[in-house]
C-alpha cells in the first residue's frame, strides 16, 4: 500500500473514531443557518428568497472552520518530515489530504444541506441545483483552503489568519454556487453555473496541490 493511500485510510479511521471531526462542522452549519431567520426575518417568502445565498455562505464558513486542523497535527508531530523523507510526491500527498478533508466536511455538508434548506423554505425546484452545486463546489473550497491551511499550519492562532487569507479566493465559487441555486429556484437554466464550477474544480485540482506542497515545505525551515 502506498504512503498516500495509507494516509487516506489512517485519516478516515481517525475521523470515524472522533465523530466530532465531521459532526462539529455540520452542527456549526445548522446553527449559522438558524441565525438568519432569527436576526433578519422568519417570513417564509423572504426566507425563500435568501435561502440559496444563506445556505452557501453557511457551508463556506463551516468548511473554513474545519480547515484549520488539516495539517496542524502532521506538522507538530513530525509526520510531515516523514512524508518528505519518504520521497513520496507531496503533490499526491496534498491531494490525498484534501480528499479526506472533503469526505469529512464537504460531503456531509452536501448530503445534509437539502434537508436544512427545507427549514429555509427553499423553492422546490432548487434542491437538485443545491445538491449538485455543493457537490462540485465544496471540493474547490477544500482545495483552495488547503493552500491557506498549509501556509498557516505552523502559526499560532492561525485560524483567523486562515480566514483572512482564503475568504477572498472563495468569492467566485460563492457567486456561481449561490447563483445556480437561485436560478433553479426561479425556474431558470442553471447548467452554465454548474459548468463554471466544474471547470474551477478541474483547474484547482491540477494547480492547488503545487501551492500546498510548496507551502508545506515552509513548515520545515521553521
Amino acid at each position: 500500500m502506498s504512503l498516500v493511500t495509507a494516509t487516506i485510510k489512517r485519516d478516515l479511521v481517525i475521523a470515524a473514531r472522533n465523530p466530532g471531526e465531521w459532526l462539529n462542522p455540520l452542527m456549526f452549519f445548522l446553527m449559522v443557518l438558524a441565525l438568519f431567520p432569527l436576526a433578519v426575518d422568519p417570513d417564509p417568502k423572504f426566507l425563500a428568497k435568501i435561502a440559496a445565498g444563506v445556505v452557501w455562505v453557511a457551508a463556506l464558513l463551516a468548511t473554513l472552520l474545519s480547515l484549520d486542523a488539516l495539517f496542524k497535527a502532521d506538522v507538530e508531530d513530525g509526520t510531515l518530515e516523514q512524508w518528505l523523507a519518504s520521497g513520496e510526491s507531496l503533490y499526491a500527498m496534498a491531494l490525498g489530504k484534501v480528499f479526506v478533508h472533503w469526505c469529512i466536511s464537504g460531503l456531509p455538508l452536501t448530503l445534509v444541506a437539502p434537508l436544512l434548506a427545507l427549514m429555509m423554505n427553499l423553492p422546490d425546484d432548487a434542491y437538485g441545483a443545491l445538491f449538485f452545486s455543493l457537490l462540485l463546489g465544496t471540493p474547490i473550497l477544500s482545495l483552495l483552503g488547503a493552500v491557506g491551511a498549509a501556509l498557516t499550519a505552523g502559526v499560532r492562532s492561525g485560524g483567523l489568519l486562515l480566514s483572512l487569507v482564503i475568504l477572498p479566493l472563495y468569492i467566485p465559487i460563492l457567486i456561481f454556487g449561490a447563483s445556480a441555486v437561485y436560478h433553479a429556484g426561479i425556474e431558470m437554466e442553471y447548467a452554465g453555473q454548474l459548468g463554471f464550477l466544474a471547470s474551477f474544480l478541474c483547474i484547482s485540482m491540477t494547480l492547488t496541490p503545487f501551492a500546498v506542497a510548496g507551502a508545506l515545505k515552509l513548515n520545515l525551515s521553521r
Binding site: 483552495l144 493552500v147 501556509l151 498557516t152 505552523g154 502559526v155 492561525g158 489568519l161 483572512l164 487569507v165 482564503i166 475568504l167 477572498p168 479566493l169 468569492i171 467566485p172 457567486i175 456561481f176 447563483s179 463554471f196 474551477f200 494547480l207 492547488t208 501551492a211 510548496g214 507551502a215 515552509l218 525551515s221 521553521r222
Partner: protein, 252 residues
Amino acid sequence: MWEALKRLYHRMGSPKWFYEISARWLPWFAIPAALFMIVGTVWGLAFAPADYQQGNSFRIIYIHVPAAILAQSAYAMMAIAGAIYLIWRMKMAAWVAAAIAPIGASFCFIALITGAIWGKPTWGTWWVWDARLTSMLLLLFLYFGVMALQKAMDTEDTSAKAGAILSLVGLVNIPIIKYSVEWWNTLHQPATLKLTEESTMAMDMLIPLLIMIVGFYLLFATLIFMRTRNSVLWHERKKNWVKKLVQVQAEK
C-alpha cells in the same frame, strides 16, 4: 541584450550594489514624478473642460483612475517579485515584494475612497455593489491577506516565501474574481451605473489623465526604491559597508 540583462540581474542580487546605484537613480524617478503629477493635477483640475453631465465632480478621476491602475499592477509586480524569490532565492526580490505590499494596498484604498467620494454626487450614494467597486474591494482583501500572512511568520525566509505563494495563488485568481464579479453584477443589477468609458473621453480630458498615470507610476517606483533601500540597510546592518556608511554620515 540578453547578456546585459543577465548581468543587471546578477548585480541586482547584491544589496550593496543596489543601494549605491539606486541612490543615483532615485532623482531620475522622484523629480519627473513630481513634475508629471503637478502638471497633471493643475491641468486636470483647472484647465480640462468640465464634464457635460457630471460637471466639475468628474475631476476626481485624475486621482481615482491612476490609483486604481497602480493598485492592480502593483499586485502583479508583487507576485512576480515573489516568484523570483521562490525560484532563484534572490533576497532582493523578497525585500522588493515586501516593500510593494503596503504601497499597493494604499493605492487600492485611495481608489476606493476617491470612488466613494465620486459616487456621492454622481450616483447619490457612497457605495454601490458595482462590479468594479466590488472587485477593487476584493483586491484590497487580497492585499490584507498577504500582509497579515507576512507579519505572522516568525522568520524572514518563511515570511517571504509564504507571501510569495499566496500572492501567486491570488494572481491566478484575480482574473477569475474579476470576471465572476462582473458576471454576478450583470445578473443582479441593471448596468445603469457605467462610469464614463475611457475610450470615449475627450482628448483634452484624456491627456491630463495619461500624464497623471505616468506620474503615479513614477511615484510608485520612487516609493519602492525608498522602501527597498531602507530594507537593505536594515537587513545588512551588521555588514561592514553599512557600518562604514553610518560612520561617514555621523562624521558629517
